[in-house]
Symmetry: C2
Subunit: 309 residues, 2 copies
């Protein structure tokens, strides 16, 4: 049996669906504060629960041993973390402590955590962030995720739990929310192109990001859970390639019969550019991001048109 | 007007007393979960309040502008943080977010935070930890304190707040709890020597620490608050000298007519040894730890004898 937190969100739902297709029994948890019940894949045993609530362990113990826990729930944007940093801390950090405590009650559980590129912050690196680089998060979101990573390491060191933190770069693809205009660069631009026939960018056009298609990210989660070595491991989930905001907008624009692109203002806590070195996960788990951006954007745009129309 | 959190605890009470003696008006907050009402110095305007409660800001706004906030409250031991990591996170991290939010409402407030040597953890350094060294906290306590430091930095960068994190090494002296047998190496050994006529050490004799007398630490807090440069600063509050557990026990033993010392077991999350490089605070604030250990231990032992007898 496998537990997936954030099962009503973009990535959690895709991971759960893939696990079910592999024949696994999946318990999914979500507080539905950000996720939607309609996202929860068929076949998931669903529990609506606030993961920061310390009664979590008692509620989920009834399922017996979990072979893996995928902790994907949480407020997932840097900008929204400025609205209410305490809520962000509960959503992203207290939740991790509760699920780690649950994992310890299961026999030989592997704990896979959805961390983020935001833990690096502005650390002086301009290219290819590596997992051992200094972390100087610029947002409350990044601080809470980094604290969670430390908790994973302590659980591995002190209690022998198998823990893996996946530092997600810009994950995009079908299923991403087209309503949340504060999180997800690709989904924001696709939604704008589709709904208002123009893309409005808050920030400069020469900023750059490292985009990874959702199916590739799902594979990384599953490989990390199937890796049974003892200890704590941190992996970049990145392609290693930089795409500028201008390149991204141009590619999206092409998918929607050339919509105009405007630049104005900025986003709090925004980082100018980042790419991640994927060599560690390639050598340890054999994972690479295989979907080219133009293919991923085509899939995403097709799906968006079907969903909104 | 000045705010001191943790005013019923060892360090908070001493800082508040010293501020009152300097003629300042001091509002003190404490939830009395660990501190004692009897510790609160005369003249302090006392508010009993849980600092993790988000109503904190509304409660304290009535006092108007604070020229400085000393955030000293919090669960203060590595070992107890293993009992209930979520409580530790609320006590040490959510509390910081609430007080930072309060600081921002005051005109030109300086925010001084009691951080800890525990943020360094096991980072491969064997001597003289420096403020820019890698932080790999080994305890939940250290993770929560490190997250708070990141919050201070973000408040300085994003909102222009003047923030200072003091990484306290082993602070000891009169006023330290003689009842809490899980926190404070000096106070634990002094209490044992006094109450049971023997010192029982959990861990090896060649571990080493960097001890700073309470009056020196209080001076560091006041200097940090009086330093008006814009930005975030991190300072070690350390002597730069290593004292082994054996040397410490021997010195304490001498103060109590030679009590025997026994070594057994270990302490969870314990670090073998650490000392801190005090050169940054010396060059920036002109602070050094001036009280020799033997003088400080004499004062501490005299006070303990008067208190317990």
């Amino acid at each position: 049996m496998i537990l997936v937190s954030g099962v009503a969100g973009f990535i959690g739902a895709k991971v759960a669906k893939s696990l079910i297709e592999s024949g696994k029994v999946v318990v999914g948890v979500d507080d539905l504060s950000l996720g939607k019940l309609s996202n929860v894949p068929k076949g998931v045993i669903f529990e609506e629960f606030d993961l920061a609530n310390t009664h979590l362990v008692k509620t989920l113990e009834k399922y017996g041993d979990f072979e893996a826990i995928y902790h994907i729930a949480g407020q997932s944007g840097g900008e929204p973390s400025y609205d209410d940093p305490v809520r962000d801390l509960n959503s992203n950090t207290a939740s991790t402590l509760n699920l780690l405590s649950l994992a310890l009650k299961s026999n030989d559980c592997v704990f896979v955590y959805a961390s983020t590129v935001s833990v690096y912050g502005e650390n002086g690196k301009t290219q290819l962030q590596q997992e051992d680089d200094t972390c100087n998060p610029k947002s409350f979101y990044g601080v809470g995720k980094l604290a969670s990573e430390h908790y994973l390491r302590i659980y591995a060191d002190q209690y022998g739990l198998k823990t893996r933190a996946l530092r997600l770069f810009n994950i995009y693809g079908p299923g991403q929310s087209l309503d949340n205009m504060r999180q997800g660069m690709v989904s924001i631009f696709v939604s704008q192109a589709l709904k208002s026939g123009q893309i409005t960018v808050r920030g400069s056009s020469d900023r750059y990001r490292d985009f990874v298609y959702i199916n590739d990210a799902v594979n990384a989660f599953k490989l990390a859970a199937n890796y049974l070595n003892v200890g704590h491991f941190t992996f970049n989930i990145s392609s290693g390639s930089a795409t500028s905001v201008e390149q991204l907008c141009s590619a999206i624009s092409d998918e929607f019969d050339t919509v105009p692109v405007q630049y104005e203002g900025s986003t709090p806590g925004d980082i100018h550019g980042y790419t991640g070195d994927p060599s560690r996960i390639e050598s340890v788990l054999g994972w690479t991001a295989t979907t080219p951006l133009n293919i991923g954007l085509s899939e995403m745009s097709l799906w968006a048109k079907e969903t909104v129309e």
